[in-house]
Symmetry: C2
DNA sequence: CAACTCCACGGAAACGTTTACGTACCGCTT
DNA sequence: AAGCGGTACGTAAACGTTTCCGTGGAGTTG
């Protein structure tokens, strides 16, 4: 059905080795025969069989990416970044979605491990030591640091610090925080940073505990926030913030008049909200691109020292923050 | 480094053929030797090399999916459906995002073609005859029908018909429609259905032409709608609808008081909007799952007659539709 | 007891590449 | 003219499976 290097070799009057060399850029072939081979190949519709190539070289040219939830625009953007960078390197990407279930991350890793050259693991929900350790494949983490692991993260501490400083400047000194999944490393960073900043600034911080990173989680967070004296709410991410805004509206609390709201991530959702959402910008495309770049370096030198790259974050002021209403 | 079937064979005191048979469910092996092989395999950390397996069987066990934009929750959900179904069949999925560029669809098809057993092509932006025809691989279309092609689509005609009937019942007889990308098959369905229904119902239909399927497209659509006597707007999809709502708000037009809005797709965005968006529900997970099911049938029998599966749609009434304000 | 069937398993070819090694040839130096 | 280095290319082994075919032994039948 589909033609092989032998067919091309025969047609071009050369050996299969020469065909192979003509296709792998580096090979020592004269320009004239390379041209001859390539035109015959085109004529026959030949392209190298990736399975055979991979069997001998051990490289598939594919990379895998594992995310908690594809439907979360945050992760969709990360994948777009990965994709864009991978396309330049002629790599295909395999994606696995774990539906926010930590248990599935190990399965996904295992099933991808033999298929790809390296794996990007975004925002793992498992503890790092629960991940299978025997699969012997380069892994780059996104939004999680761990000793001995390659990673690209964002400076969440700085982002939420800016948020709290800004709220303080507006006059808020009772601020609530709705956290995310327990084992989210980035969530831990946010909590920790908020605690120290709150102490420094003399702000009362009401930790509402962790809610689901969904609209429903946001609805719940709003009720929790209204049970405290807080006049502002910082949410784990934009989705939670929007859920909370919905619930505030339903309960007759004006945003930002009665309650200021700050999200995190700066996804497209934050511009869609009415009023548009003040949020902490977290680079997503860039994180995806950086992860591929790191993976490439890792693959080039497996014994290199792990790199931990950190991207900048910044507060984006929009319409959901204002001075607290005077009472 | 990683062990091979020969290692397992030696350890278990059998031949490599028997190891292979023990792993491929069907093979004729006694229970006792199979058990022995499997325990030795586990002990050595062996799993079959997919490249070698694929080289001889010609099957990779992978499927590809191509979408115009991963960041659009509509397509993210389709992929989640694909993923869920594929996980059951132990298939990995390769994803390609074409950034809404028709030109990249051919490239994506070509680069995936040799890597996977079959491809799901969602909402192609290219004309069907512009797709490479020589790649000799099963393809299932989503949201596009074409003679001789396998496809799963939704009954968009019925969905928008319900929307128009509902608006008419509320008292709207001047309705605007903002269309999507020119070569979108589903967009064509919507336009056509609206035209015939409008004629039947005696509704004046104002076709605003095609706008980008983005927030910005929605902003533009709103201005166009306000330049007509229309009291209701039907948008190409939820994103456009939300963009339009934003713009209506900015121009002081109350929704639904001054203008009713109907979206399409029923993505999570429609529940996020304030007020929540009346929209046409289009199954997405189900479309993804159905596409994998069709692909499996296609792969099982390449000569079978193409199947064109159509999923149901239905209007979901929420808060953006109401009777027009009396003048 | 012979002839036959069936089952479990081993031997070996095949899948389509890449690459180490070998060889012929060309041009240059001494 | 002999020797030598370099370049372009061919030969063949190797990658790790699956599967066809063959074989020996156990069980069944006449």
């Amino acid at each position: 059905m589909t033609s092989t290097s032998r067919d091309v070799a025969r047609a071009a009057g050369v050996s299969v080795a020469t065909v192979s060399r003509a296709f792998s850029e580096a090979g020592a072939v004269s320009d004239s025969t390379r041209r001859k081979v390539l035109t015959e190949a085109r004529r026959l519709g030949y392209s190298p069989n990736p399975a055979a190539r991979r069997l001998i070289t051990g490289r598939s040219g594919n990379i895998g990416i594992i995310v908690p939830d594809l439907a979360n625009p945050f992760f969709a953007d990360i994948i777009k970044g990965v994709q864009r960078r991978a396309r330049e390197g002629r790599q295909a990407i395999l994606v696995a979605d774990t539906d926010e279930q930590a248990r599935l991350e190990g399965d996904a890793l295992r099933s991808l491990a033999r298929q790809v050259d390296g794996i990007i693991l975004a925002s793992p929900r498992s503890a790092i030591e629960d991940l299978p350790g025997d699969l012997n494949i380069p892994i780059v983490l996104i939004h999680r640091q761990a000793p001995g692991w390659w990673s690209v993260t964002a400076d969440f501490a700085e982002g939420v610090r800016q948020a709290l400083v800004n709220l303080r400047a507006l006059g808020h000194d009772h601020v609530a925080y709705a956290g995310g999944p327990h084992l989210s490393w980035s969530g831990g960073m946010r909590t920790e940073s908020l605690r120290t900043c709150a102490a420094e600034l003399g702000v009362h911080l009401y930790e509402l505990g962790s809610v689901a990173p969904t609209i429903d989680g946001g609805l719940a967070a709003a009720d929790l926030a209204l049970a405290t004296p807080a006049t502002a709410l910082i949410a784990y991410n934009d989705v939670v913030a929007l859920g909370a805004m919905r619930r505030f509206g339903a309960r007759g609390v004006d945003v930002p008049g009665g309650m200021s709201v700050v999200g995190c991530d700066n996804t497209m959702l934050s511009q869609l909200a009415v009023p548009s959402l003040t949020t902490v910008d977290v680079p997503r495309f860039e994180a995806g691109e950086a992860a591929v770049a790191l993976l490439d370096r890792y693959l080039a030198d497996a014994d290199a020292e792990p790199i931990e790259q950190v991207l900048a974050t910044a507060l984006v002021i929009r319409g959901t923050t204002a001075p607290p209403r005077q009472t």
